[in-house]
């Protein structure tokens, strides 16, 4: 019997060990907190700055992975695992979490009411619930601009000065015309692709996207249709290199100069530097056709079950203050969400040698002031994917442009769950 008992004991221990991971690790002290971020945004720099100023604070920073992987890990944690004290959520993932605000600390209870006026109101609106709870503090926004190759523009007889280039395309129609000229002169495609470079920018420039102002699903509206149509027009003009954004072909073509223009939200600049280092100095940055717009950005949030919410909040309020965001911009290039620093000489004077010393601070902040806020709903992600995929199918010759809108609506209808 003894043998049986010990066997059972071993099995029980094994089961406990295997099933019982993620239990509490005991002590919690108010000077230590855990921070989950996604990779490639270098929150490490901010953490270092903070711990240098507060040597008694210990921050356990985990770079979980991509933005999506971080959101997935957070979901699993909220559903019953060990939660971090502080987490960075990407703007596209935020609406899903906004559906269940009870999972997070309402930051107004910690003093977010006092500082919310520091931030762009339309960004703050994304992390504020209908009844006024604040779930996240915005860390950065994704202003829009166009990166173009000065050497290729010169070869095509187009102006290369960024102000003159900006004047070439106040609207998307004029952008398409410049593209046609370029193709005529060089015989090479103009823009990397139309679904991302045209549709994803244009659809973020309106006053409404896939939801109405009263937070109801409404993706079949005039503004989305207009963005969709101008994308089809750009495709039909024959100016697209048809290289899907972030694919291996896109990177290869960027290196080889097989397209001259990429519509590049502020966060894409660092990717371009990593993907095509040999094109250093050949790029410049002009304003985006169609006026102000934003794509992306991130928020810091505190899960409800966080052990040390206070320490996390101290971190947020210090690092995301206008001064904190300005410092982070100067260090990393993420665009601040605090408009008070948009006229700061340091920000205005910030240039980037990779992009021919373009004043990136000035160009990108200009694109996010005067934005008309729209509501971000929980199904924005899947809806955006279906529109993008349909337009990609058009580029791949699998969908006829004439049927594209109907196809897109059918696909969206399949993807949306009422």
């Amino acid at each position: 019997m003894k043998r049986v008992r010990s066997t059972v004991a071993i099995i029980a221990t094994a089961a406990l060990l295997l099933g019982g991971c993620g239990g509490s690790d005991g002590e919690s002290d108010s000077k230590t907190f855990e921070f989950w971020s996604f990779a490639n945004i270098n929150q490490k720099a901010d953490v270092d700055v903070y711990t240098k100023a507060h040597p008694d604070v210990r921050i356990k920073l985990t770079e979980v992975g991509s933005t999506t992987e971080t959101a997935q890990a957070l979901t699993a944690a909220l559903a019953g695992g060990k939660v971090p004290d502080l987490v960075l959520i990407q703007a596209d993932d935020l609406p899903k979490f906004m559906q269940s605000p009870d999972n997070f600390v309402d930051l107004t209870t910690l003093g977010a009411d006092d500082i919310k006026g520091n931030y762009l109101d339309w960004v703050m609106a994304q992390s504020t619930t209908k009844d006024g709870k604040i779930i996240g503090v915005p860390t950065d926004v994704g202003g829009l601009a166009v990166a173009y190759r000065t050497d290729l523009f010169k070869a095509a007889g187009l102006p290369t000065d960024r102000d003159e280039v900006s004047k070439l395309w106040p609207t998307w129609d004029e952008f398409i015309n410049v593209g046609k000229t370029y193709v005529q002169k060089t015989g090479k495609p103009f823009v990397d692709n139309t679904p991302t470079s045209v549709f994803f920018q244009a659809v973020n420039q309106g006053s409404q996207r896939y939801y109405s102002a009263d937070r109801k699903l409404d993706y079949d509206n005039e503004q989305v249709k207009a963005a969709f149509d101008v994308t089809l027009k750009a495709f039909s003009a024959g100016i697209s290199a048809k290289q899907g954004s972030f694919s291996s072909g896109w990177t290869a073509a960027m290196k080889k100069g097989d397209y001259a223009v990429v519509c590049s939200p502020s966060w894409m600049l660092s990717q371009m530097k990593t993907n095509a280092p040999e094109t250093d100095g050949k790029w410049d940055i002009a304003t985006i056709p169609g006026g102000s717009g934003n794509w992306g950005g991130s928020f810091l949030a505190i899960p409800k079950r966080a052990k040390n919410a206070k320490a996390a909040w101290n971190y947020i309020s210090e690092m995301q203050s206008p001064k904190g965001q300005l410092d982070h911009f100067l260090l990393q290039g993420s665009l601040p969400t605090t408009p008070s620093v948009y006229t700061d000489p340091q920000l205005v004077g910030k240039t980037d040698p990779f992009f021919s010393n373009a004043p990136i601070g000035k160009i990108y902040t200009q694109s996010v002031v005067g934005i008309k806020p729209f509501y971000f709903g929980p199904q924005d992600g899947p809806i955006g994917t279906e529109f993008l995929n349909t337009l990609t199918s058009v580029e791949q010759g699998k969908v006829n442009p004439a049927n594209a809108w109907d196809t897109a609506l059918t696909n969206v209808k399949n993807a949306v769950r009422e």
């Binding site: 089961a15 269940s100 694919s247 899947p382």
Partner: protein, 317 residues
């Protein structure tokens, strides 16, 4: 001869007890020995299976509410073109990868079994190299090779004067690409299984056949194949189970489409669709329904395949 002395009751009792204990112990011991598998299976196999079925009856937001919807998810599944598309893709990729893979493995195993092969051990080990290579690395390399404008295959086609093929964008192209990745990875593995079985075939059979004038091909057909039937049945069933659950290759093959594997979901498999619904869009209830449907399909097909292969086996001498 005296019979056994009567045992006083107070002495007999503990002795009997000990004997009963001994019996119980001997009865339980084998169960204890095999229990690790079954305990682990209960925790990691059966429980998730039952829990998945449970979740599939809900509109289940992992961090929000869990609303009971009965069989609604399954009803929706029947009318979901994306699910049927994924099922079609899965079967197409499975057939395209399994058939050539097993045939190739058979041929390779026969060659590697050849008595006069030099450096046999080296060749036998090298067929396993693709299997020990990380799937992610394999997939990324293949995806670059199949690239429309800058891939090696299209460069070669261009040299021969053919048009470039947009593999990732087209239905068949993307299926061929993914099937190639799968076949490349698993052919060596199946080869070794077949080779192991062939090694058990007495050499005299081949020698006798050779003496009777049978060439390599006839030896392959009439000795190798018949002796491999049980292992062929095994590989067909395991390939079916694996093939219907293909996930990593389509996920990484087409980074533009992300979780949809292409703009038109042209290479999205059922597991990838499951993943998209559950972890991409947090529709865990619906994702679980996809999982249950896939489970039923895999069980049914493994059964059919097994019956077919064993039937073939029993009908032939």
């Amino acid at each position: 001869m005296l019979g056994p002395a009567p045992i006083p009751p107070d002495v007999r009792r503990p002795g009997r007890n000990r004997r009963i204990k001994q019996g119980v112990r001997e009865f339980l011991a084998p169960y204890a020995y095999i229990s690790p598998f079954f305990v682990l299976f209960l925790i990691f196999g059966l429980f998730p299976l039952l829990f998945t079925f449970y979740i599939s009856l809900f509109d289940w937001d992992p961090i929000g509410e869990h609303r009971f919807v009965g069989l609604d998810n399954f009803a929706e599944l029947l009318h979901d073109p994306r699910f049927w598309g994924a099922l079609r893709n899965t079967f197409s990729i499975w057939v395209m990868s399994t058939v050539p893979q097993l045939l190739l493995a058979l041929g390779l195993a026969h060659l590697l079994n050849h008595a006069r092969l030099r450096l046999a051990a080296l060749f036998r080990m090298s067929v396993l190299v693709p299997y020990v290579t990380s799937v992610a690395a394999t997939t990324i390399v293949f995806a670059q090779m199949f690239d429309r404008d800058y891939g090696m295959i299209n460069w070669f086609l261009g040299l021969l004067g053919f048009e470039h093929i947009d593999f990732t964008a087209s239905l068949w192209g993307s299926h061929v690409m993914i099937a190639t990745m799968i076949a490349w990875r698993w052919t060596g593995y199946n080869t070794l299984l077949y080779l192991a079985a062939l090694q058990a075939v007495p050499r005299e059979l081949y020698e006798a056949a050779a003496a009777d004038g049978a060439n390599g091909w006839r030896q392959f057909l009439h000795i190798s194949i018949p002796s491999l039937r049980p292992i062929i049945a095994f590989t067909v069933v395991t390939s079916t189970i694996g093939g219907l659950q293909v996930f990593t290759e389509p996920l990484l093959a087409n980074p533009v489409g992300g979780l949809t594997c292409g703009a038109a979901r042209q290479c999205q498999t059922v597991t990838l669709y499951l993943y998209e619904q559950s972890f991409g869009q947090f529709h865990f209830g619906y994702g679980a329904a996809v999982g249950v449907a896939l489970f039923v399909i895999v069980v049914a097909f493994s059964g059919i395949n097994y019956l077919l292969v064993t039937r073939v086996r029993s009908e032939r001498p």
